[in-house]
């Protein structure tokens, strides 16, 4: 299946990520598509910490560590520097966790989106602050256990809709990607890679210790998230044109939830709410897509 084997020629092993970490599966396939003319900008978080022990790194391209909330501003600065020195062909790849993106980095992110900076921003979303020991973020799904939403105080707020936020900035390209659907992922990275301006990829990133799931289940969970409409695969062009890139099987969300310890404390009513939310969200995407078609 792989047409791109950029990473295969490099030592991407020896990294410090936990067994079964989804972030490293994603990084490898994204880089396989983007190739050597790439600079990674990465804030604090698992992606940064597990990359290597200074001065060592698994990354086959420059990998710049930046402060937690500064991903977008740092990326914009590097972009400007590259452009000034005539290196427009180099892709600036922001590679940030959900905490860094949905929460602390939101201001600068909104700023570069509004200015339509020429940046490919990838958020690998493991749905909590994992590197510091599983604290809730605004990407944590409703009903999830974290150390800051313990049993009895499970998270009551739904996950922030990052797609809608990015669409509201009318950026050229937004898409969701799953490591279980590599053809779809590579299609989207290829598309995004060829575009100019602000592109945002929302990457589903299983985290066994944070999700209290079996390390072997990472890909299965990624697939189920898509097939249960928890994490639909779609893209938004110019903030307007919605397109589902995978027709989901619409499996019951319970199949996804029950494989993860973080959802262990959910009541049946809460599970029903999650089911309804998932169905509604998918329905919304379908209607947005249809509206587009009928225009």
């Amino acid at each position: 299946m792989t047409d791109y084997e950029f990473c295969a020629g490099h030592d991407l092993y020896g990294h410090m990520a936990c067994p079964g970490c989804g972030e490293k599966i994603l990084l490898r396939h994204v880089l396989d598509v983007l190739g050597p003319e790439t600079i990674i900008v990465c804030p604090a978080g698992c992606g940064a910490v597990t990359d290597g022990i200074f001065p060592h790194s698994i990354a086959p391209v420059p990998f710049l560590h930046v402060p937690f909330g500064a991903t977008a501003s740092a990326a914009a600065g590097i972009r400007a520097g590259l452009d000034m020195s005539g290196r427009e062909e180099v892709t600036v790849l922001a590679w940030a966790g959900d905490g860094a993106t949905f929460d602390i980095g939101m201001g600068p992110l909104s700023a570069i989106a509004e200015r339509n900076e020429n940046i490919l921003y990838c958020c690998y979303d493991n749905e909590a602050y994992m590197n510091t020991g599983v604290q809730r973020s605004s990407a944590t799904p409703v009903g999830s256990w974290t150390t800051t939403t313990p049993r009895g105080h499970l998270k009551t707020e739904p996950k922030k809709n990052i797609g809608a936020i990015m669409a509201a900035h009318r950026i050229p390209y937004f898409a969701t990607c799953s490591p279980a659907f590599l053809d779809d992922l590579k299609m989207k990275v290829t598309r995004a890679g060829k575009m100019k301006g602000m592109r945002f990829l929302h990457l589903f990133s299983p985290c066994p210790p944070g999700w209290k799931s079996d390390p072997r289940d990472g890909i299965t969970l990624s697939r189920l998230a898509v097939e249960c409409n928890i994490f639909p695969l779609y893209e938004i062009l110019d903030g307007e044109k919605y397109r589902l890139t995978h027709r989901s099987q619409g499996l019951p969300v319970a199949e996804y939830l029950h494989k993860q310890g973080r959802f262990r404390y959910l009541s049946d009513t809460e599970k029903k709410i999650i089911q309804t939310d998932a169905d509604q969200f998918y329905g919304l995407l379908v209607s947005r897509q249809d509206r587009e078609k009928n225009r």
Binding site: G14, M16, A17
Partner: protein
């Protein structure tokens, strides 16, 4: 800002691992459960790629009778197929039939090895004897088959009715199987030839089957009008014109009883089949029972014959005692226990007894049967005993065509070894099986089995090839690596290496997460050691 380019390859994360991926091909449940030992997965894969000739060659390495088994085998392969619980099992038997029928039309006569000076006599031309002959001849050994009947085939010809297995198809397949062997018809061992005539052979394979109908051990079973069901089948299958226009009672619950009842119905009889236990305990194959039930044949369960009589006006009557089910017997089926004084009588024009068959070994003296059902031939003429191999229904195996075929093939291997002065060790079966729990069903879509009925195929309503290819394409290829690259693509540690023949784990870095094994669609990859959870 720090930029580093030195790799992390010094960090051997393999030391984190508590369980290790192991690439090893396993036996699929179909192969494992095939009594004939066919490489089902292998030939289905060839059919998938439209390589029918190669599929035929692979299939016949284990079973020279695909057209026969494709019709009459009880297909334990299908019952155990991993696709069964997903949507519906692969119709292996119909694929086998397709290959068999292809061969009947297209297979060229095999070029046989030149004959050595070795000579083997095969006594009994049933599936066991014929399979032995086939594999012996392919080893360059001359074979003479002796049979008391006019035509070869044994039960296949004289027992199984033509509506289940057409005589033309059977005899055409047999011709191919016996190609290069000599068939001596109407030669009854013990009458037309004896031990002395066999001493010139280097080895003798005895597979005379089980043809003597068991007695019912009741009063009146020798009254005229009461006959052996198997003898009746033999008459019909020999082409005798028989008309049954009256009432027929068939006693028994095995394959013979079913075939007798269904044959009698086809000849015009009003048939009642009486069995002393219930449908659940019937020893006949499930498929036969289904077909029996679909025909206008009356079934009377929990009734055992007690006495048969002909009264003064010439009417034939059988008195039955009612039964109930008691404790399981040694076969595991619940034993019928008589209910006191509950009796009923049925009148009939013909009564067929089909309560089981025993081998007829009257051509030898001093044969002992041990408790496991096997026969001890050590008491016979020692000059013959030294070179005698037995097979088919004479063995204490389930009595089925694929078991008979397997015994014939094994006998050929054994005899060949014997003649070469080697010790024979039956080939060991790879016993690691990739069962349904090894399949990652997420990689397969539900497609229902091509609606094949035997009739559709026989009448040619469906082009066989298209249906066969579609059906073969549903097969999961359980237990083998199909080079899907999943392990390679999903490993978070890039610890899967592609090799020219497959994949290998880089144990220096593999952390043992188990993703690769979990995402292996067909179960060729499994984790060894403690679960990492």
């Amino acid at each position: 800002m720090a930029v580093s380019r030195a790799s992390m390859s010094w960090n051997k994360t393999g030391s984190w691992r508590s369980s290790t991926p192991l690439y090893r091909d396993k036996l699929p449940p179909c192969n494992y459960n095939c009594p004939a030992g066919e490489n089902i997965r292998g030939y289905i894969d060839l059919v998938k790629h439209d390589k029918i000739e190669e599929a035929f060659a692979l299939l016949t390495e284990a079973n020279p009778f695909p057209a026969v088994c494709g019709r009459v085998c009880y297909h334990p392969c299908e019952a155990n197929c991993s696709r069964h619980s997903f949507d519906s099992e692969i119709r292996v038997r119909l694929l086998e039939k397709f290959i068999g029928d292809w061969a009947i039309e297209h297979a060229k006569p095999a070029t046989l090895p030149e004959l050595s000076a070795r000579n083997v006599a095969v006594i009994g031309g049933g599936p066991a004897g014929l399979a032995a002959a086939y594999y012996l001849r392919r080893r360059g050994i001359a074979v003479t088959i002796y049979d008391q009947n006019n035509l070869p085939g044994g039960i296949l010809h004289y027992g199984i009715p033509a509506y289940r297995l057409g005589k033309d198809i059977l005899q055409t397949e047999i011709q191919r199987v016996t190609h290069g062997c000599e068939f001596k018809a109407n030669m009854k061992f013990g009458a037309d030839f004896t031990v002395g005539d066999l001493l010139d052979y280097d080895a003798v394979f005895l597979a005379t089957g089980a043809h003597r109908s068991k007695n019912m051990r009741i009063v009146g079973e020798n009254v005229s009008g009461v006959e052996s069901g198997l003898d009746f089948l033999k008459q019909v299958n020999s082409g005798e014109k028989i008309v049954l226009d009256g009432k027929v009672i068939v006693i028994g619950g095995g394959n013979t009883a079913c075939d007798v009842a269904r044959t009698a119905y086809r000849l015009g009889g009003k048939v009642t089949l009486v069995y002393r236990r219930t449908e659940q305990e019937m020893p006949a194959f499930a498929e036969e029972i289904e077909q029996l039930k679909s025909e206008p044949i009356k079934l009377e369960f929990l009734a055992a014959p007690e006495r048969i009589e002909r009264n003064t006006d010439g009417e034939l009557r059988c008195v039955f005692g009612r039964m109930e089910l008691g404790q399981p017997d040694e076969s595991g089926r619940r034993r019928p226990v008589p209910l006191d004084d509950a009796k009923f009588t049925l009148s009939a024009d013909r009564i067929f007894a089909a309560v089981g068959e025993d081998p007829d070994l009257s051509f030898f003296q001093n044969i002992e049967q041990s408790s496991d059902g096997s026969y001890d031939f050590s008491g016979i003429d020692s000059r013959l005993a030294a070179k005698l191999v037995i097979g088919g229904d004479l063995l204490p195996n389930p009595r089925t065509v694929p078991h008979a075929v397997a015994s014939g093939r094994l006998a050929a291997q054994k005899i060949a070894a014997m003649l070469n002065g080697e010790k024979f060790a039956p080939p060991e079966l790879l016993v690691e099986i990739a069962g349904p729990e090894d399949i990652n069903y997420q990689y397969f879509t539900r497609i229902n089995a091509v609606k094949w009925t035997t009739e559709i195929i026989e009448n040619g309503h469906l082009t066989g090839r298209e249906a066969a290819l579609a059906e073969a394409n549903r097969c999961f290829s359980c237990g083998v690596c199909n080079r899907c690259d999943n392990c390679y693509n999903f490993c978070p540690d890039l610890a899967v290496i592609k090799t020219p023949t497959g994949y290998q784990t880089n144990l220096d870095y593999c952390k043992g997460c188990g993703i690769c094994a979990a995402e292996c669609p067909g179960g060729s990859l499994r984790m060894k050691g403690n679960s990492p959870a």
